[in-house]
C-alpha cells in the first residue's frame, strides 16, 4: 500500500468522498471486470460493481490495514456478488449482450477491412472465450476468475466464498475443461473465418 493510498484511505474514512472517488478510480476497472465476467452483462456489471463500491464506502471504517486495500475491497465485492445472486437474478442472463456486441464488431471489421488478421483472430477468440465462460455457472465463473485472473489461492477462494477447498478445485477444474472444449471447437470456426477474410482481401 503506497503512502498516497494510505492517505486517501484515511481521508475517505473521515467522510471525504473525493478521496474515496480517487481510490475507486484506481481499482474500478478490476472490480468492473470481475463483475462483468460474473454476471455477463454490461449494465448489470456497472450496477453490481457500483454496489460493491457503495458497500465498501459504508464499511470503510472497519478497514484496519491488516491486508491490502484491494484484498479487503475484493472480499466486499465477492460478498456483494453472492448476496446479489441470492436476492435477485440478473437483468439479462447469458451471453446475449456480449455475443451481439462481438458479432457487430466482427462484421464492422470485415467490412472496413482495416483490421489485421491477428486482431480479427483475437476477436473471434474473444467471442469464443466469452461464450465458453457464459456456459459456466456464475459461481464457477467467479471461482475461475479469482483463481486464474486474480491469482488467489484455493484456500483464499474457499474462505471468501464460504465453501470447501475441494469444491473450489472441482469447480475451477470443470471450468477449465469446459473452456478448453469450447475453445477447441471454436478454433476451427475462427480459422475458417480468417481464411474467408484472407480470400476476400
Amino acid at each position: 500500500m503506497t503512502d498516497s493510498e494510505t492517505d486517501l484511505i484515511r481521508r475517505a474514512q473521515a467522510d471525504d468522498t473525493d478521496a474515496f472517488c480517487l481510490l475507486a478510480e484506481s481499482y474500478a476497472r478490476r472490480i468492473y471486470l470481475l463483475a462483468f465476467h460474473y454476471c455477463h452483462n454490461a449494465q448489470d456489471a456497472e450496477d453490481l460493481s457500483q454496489e460493491a463500491w457503495l458497500k465498501a464506502y459504508q464499511a470503510l471504517g472497519s478497514f484496519r490495514s491488516d491486508s491490502s486495500f484491494y484484498t479487503w475491497l475484493r472480499r466486499i465485492t465477492i460478498n456483494a456478488f453472492i448476496n446479489h445472486q441470492r436476492s435477485n437474478s440478473f437483468r439479462r442472463q447469458g451471453q446475449t449482450t456480449v455475443v451481439e456486441l462481438i458479432d457487430v464488431d466482427f462484421e464492422i471489421a470485415i467490412e472496413s477491412r482495416s483490421a489485421s488478421p491477428e486482431t480479427l483472430y483475437n476477436k473471434v477468440l474473444f467471442e469464443s472465450v466469452m461464450n465458453a465462460l457464459a456456459e459456466l455457472t456464475p459461481s464457477q465463473r467467479l471461482m475461475f476468475l479469482l483463481r486464474h485472473y486474480e491469482g488467489m489461492s484455493y484456500e483464499e477462494i474457499a474462505n471468501a466464498m464460504n465453501c470447501s477447498t475441494g469444491t473450489v478445485k472441482k469447480s475451477v477444474s470443470r471450468a477449465i475443461v469446459k473452456l478448453r472444449a469450447r475453445l477447441n471447437a471454436d478454433r476451427d470456426t475462427a480459422d475458417e473465418s480468417l481464411t474467408r477474410l484472407a480470400a476476400e482481401c
Binding site: 454490461a42 464506502y57 459504508q58 474473444f126
Partner: protein, 192 residues
C-alpha cells in the same frame, strides 16, 4: 480428452499428458488475456465515476442522517431532560397542594400497630386409653370328652376291635396259681 493422473512426473513423461497440459495452459493463457479485453473503452469511465460519485453523495446524505439519529440521546435521557412550560399560578397552586398534603399526612393520628397478646387457653385433648381385661376361661379336658365319646359309641369300638384284632382262641390256655394284680394309677382327676 486424455485421462491420466496429472502429477508433474506423468505430465513430463506421458506425451498425451504433456499435450493435454499444454492445451490447458494455452486455454488459461488465452482466457485470462481476453478477460482484460472485455473492459469498456476509456470513454466509458468518466461517466461511470460520475454516476458512482452521485450514488456516494446520496449514500453520504443518508449516512449523515443515520449518524445524526445515532447521536440522539436515548428516550430515557430525553425523558429526564424533558421540560414542560407551566404558568406561574398553576405551578404555585400545585406547590401549595403538595405542601398541604404533606402537612395533613404529618398531623394524621398515628395508627399503632396492634400489639400481640398472649392468652393461655387450656385445651382438652381426648386421649385413647388402653384397658386390659383379664378373663378366666374354663374348658373341658380332651380325655374326658374322648372317654365320653367312647362310652357313647361302644358298639362302634367293639366293631373296630373285632376288625383290627384276630379272634383269640383259648386253646392251650393254662391259668396260673398266683394272682398277679397290677394297679395302674392315674386317670381322671376325680378318680381316687
Amino acid at each position: 480428452m486424455h485421462n491420466c493422473n496429472d502429477t508433474d512426473e506423468q505430465i513430463t513423461e506421458c506425451a498425451d499428458c504433456h499435450e493435454e497440459s499444454n492445451a490447458l495452459n494455452e486455454t488459461l493463457r488465452i482466457t485470462t488475456r481476453l478477460i482484460d479485453a472485455a473492459a469498456p473503452p476509456d470513454s466509458y469511465w468518466p461517466g461511470y465515476h460520475a454516476r458512482l460519485r452521485e450514488k456516494l453523495t446520496q449514500t453520504r446524505g443518508s449516512h449523515v442522517v443515520t449518524k445524526a439519529s445515532a447521536n440522539e440521546p436515548s428516550w430515557i435521557t430525553r425523558f429526564f431532560r424533558a421540560s414542560v412550560p407551566v404558568p406561574v399560578p398553576v405551578g404555585l397552586a400545585l406547590i401549595l397542594v403538595f405542601a398541604l398534603s404533606l402537612l395533613f399526612v404529618s398531623r394524621a393520628p398515628e395508627q399503632t400497630a396492634p400489639q400481640l397478646q398472649v392468652v393461655h387457653v387450656p385445651v382438652e385433648v381426648p386421649v385413647v386409653q388402653e384397658k386390659i381385661v383379664t378373663r378366666v376361661v374354663y374348658r373341658e379336658r380332651q380325655t374326658a370328652s374322648r372317654r365320653s365319646k367312647q362310652t357313647i359309641t361302644p358298639s362302634r369300638n367293639e366293631s373296630t376291635l373285632a376288625r383290627t384284632h384276630n379272634p383269640v382262641s383259648l386253646i392251650g390256655f393254662k391259668p396260673t396259681d398266683e394272682i398277679k394284680l397290677t394297679v395302674i394309677k392315674g386317670g381322671s382327676p376325680n378318680e381316687k
